[in-house]
Amino acid sequence: MSQENRLILLEDISKDFDRHTVLSDINLYIKKNEFLTLLGPSGCGKTTMLRIIGGFEFPTTGRVLFDGKDITDEPPYKRRVNTVFQKYALFPHLNVFENIAFGLKIAKLPKAEITSRVGKMLELVNLLGYEKRSVDSLSGGQQQRIAIARALVNEPEVLLLDEPLAALDYKLRKGMQLELKRMQQALGITFIFVTHDQEEALTMSDTIVVMKDGLIRQIGTPKHIYDEPKDAFVANFIGESNIIRGTMPKDKLVRFCGLDFECVDFGFEKDEPVNVLIRPEDLVITDTDDAPLKGVVRSVIFKGVHYEMVIDAGNYLWKVHSTVMVPENSKVGLSVVPFNIHVMKLTDDELTGDEL
């Protein structure tokens, strides 16, 4: 990646609130026109990180660079960044037009230009004709789109979005996900998106940053993070997973449930303890004869697209997704191709015995 493409650079950022550390050792760059998602459970520091980029919090240590310029101490109104707040934070004393025009009026643009730009924005978010409405009279989804229009009308280089879809219902959220992605591609703006919803992150992002306890756990494309999670936490947080302890007798061979399996991972010490990840959709139900793992179906739940089954095999309850239903209590075999076995190093916590 060439240096010029790095629009925002976070260098050794840490943040303490009253001696309580919420962020530490944050190093991250954000490329131009990228859709980057900060993903993690609540309390992982993702919102604080967004607020540091927006200028609402100042880091305890470290620097924020924007286009190569240090903006660590600059107030929000001097940054070429706009924010869509979690609960929208629309101005209740202003109508829809005045809300969207707020930033343009502050910038003292000519009236005709303000009117035309606000009009264009309302068109973009499909709310033409709502200019005179009071914001309290709008539905959650409409308020949300006004909040996006109010930020985008200023033509920021970066748009920050703090869980903007959290308050919407499922259908609306799905629609807005695609809408946001479309806007981002059409306008060519960098989006930094905060969410705890892994599906949302996978759907929209170019890059996902997985966070936990104020630390970045993994950075990568949605596919990379899903297929090659760095540790058990990331694997569990993104998608569903079977994680079992094992060892590596040698390269490309992993041992778990008392059996040796071929795999594609290498570079471990001999007999190094590891976590083995197998996604539920990668386990294949076969006849008992040819399968290395033999077990009994404990439960079957219909999930729409597939059946979710729990299969007791090799002293582990395997979660299996299959489009073919196998009745409860039937004896089955489980197999998995080497490519779908993913071996992960243990984290320091796991090595010292603290389970996740």
Binding site: G54, G55, P76, Y77, A89, F91, P92, H93
Partner: protein, 330 residues
């Protein structure tokens, strides 16, 4: 009807109300087959009827009758011309009043009212000028002392209002604490008391909390995200205040103005203590008319005039804040 038999028929009135109340409870219990929530509104309705609606009618009754109980507008004429009663008596005695040169023009009541309104206006403006910034600073989340200061604003209100005013006397007196201090520093004594500024000081001191609290509440309850959004959209601290914080605090200001202005107009006692009787206000005039002059009819007329004026000024305020929260005070 005179003042002496008031308590007796007041008690009868309350007994009647209580009777109606009991009947209502029985009817309500029958109708809803059990306790209904509207039942609990009856004690308050009763209270309002006995102690608000009835007295209002009584004031109106007294204001439009003479001592004998027959209808008259003389009480209001007395307000307009304080010599009216005297002139009437002189005419009755056969004097030609128009030829007489009276020592005063009879405008004392009107003058007092105008003076009271002017004082109340000044008091409200000063309270707003002091109270708004105070409320603004105290509601700043980064200002850790804010909540403590708010409590300190409340503490004087735990003391009696008369006591608080008398306490100012010991400060402002010719031989009071301030003058003693000034003299010991070699500045010489100042005439601090017995003028309208001392009265104004006493009023501001007493009514300031009524400005600070509503304004503080209206700022404090604002979502901090709104100011952040303004800053995010390019507004600096000053613009954020003028475009967001201030407009959203207008309901608090309207409440504050109402809560300071109303008691300010009716202020009494403070002018007598700190103004030394040189600066009588309308509240004192009403009190004097009722208690010293023992004229309930003129006193009621004066009260009625003031009520109408207050109602008028509040309805003006409501235009500033059409959907606002200040109207709960009307």
């Amino acid at each position: 009807m005179n003042a002496m038999n008031m308590p007796a028929w007041g008690i009868w009135l309350m007994a009647l109300g209580l009777g109606i109340f009991i009947v209502m409870i029985i009817l309500s219990l029958k109708k809803h087959r059990g306790v209904h929530r509207s039942l609990f509104a009856w004690p308050y309705s009763l209270w309002m009827i006995v102690f608000t609606v009835v007295p209002l009618f009584l004031i109106a009754y007294y204001a439009f009758t003479d001592k004998a109980g027959s209808f008259t507008l003389d009480n209001f004429k007395n307000f307009w011309d304080s010599n009216y009663e005297m002139k009437k008596q002189l005419i009755d005695m056969g004097f030609d009043v128009s030829a007489m040169e009276l020592s005063d023009r009879g405008t004392v009541n009107v003058d007092t009212l105008v003076y009271s309104l002017w004082m109340a206006f000044k008091c409200t403006v000063i309270c707003l000028a002091i109270g708004y910034p105070a409320a603004l600073f105290m509601s700043d989340r980064n200002f850790k002392l804010g909540p403590t200061l708010i409590v300190l604003f409340i503490v004087p209100m735990w003391m009696n209002f008369l006591l608080r005013t008398i306490a100012w006397m010991t400060l402002l007196e010719d031989n009071g604490i301030i003058n003693t201090l000034l003299e010991s520093l070699g500045f010489g004594k100042l005439r601090l008391m017995y003028n309208s500024n001392a009265v104004l000081l006493g009023m501001v001191y007493n009514y300031l909390p009524f400005m600070v609290f509503p304004v503080y509440n209206s700022i404090n309850k604002q979502d901090i995200k709104l100011s952040e959004a303004a800053m995010d959209l390019g507004a600096d601290e000053m613009k954020t205040f003028t475009k967001v914080t201030f407009p959203l605090s207008i309901p608090g200001i309207v409440s504050g103005i109402t809560m300071v202005f109303m008691p300010s107009v009716t202020t009494f006692f403070i002018p007598r203590v700190l103004g030394g009787g040189n600066t009588e206000m309308f509240g004192d005039l009403i009190e004097r008319t009722f208690l010293t002059a023992d004229n309930w009819n003129v006193g009621s007329a004066l009260s009625l005039i003031m009520m109408v004026l207050i109602l008028f000024s509040i309805s003006l305020l409501r235009r500033v804040d059409p959907q606002g929260e200040g109207e709960s005070l009307l």
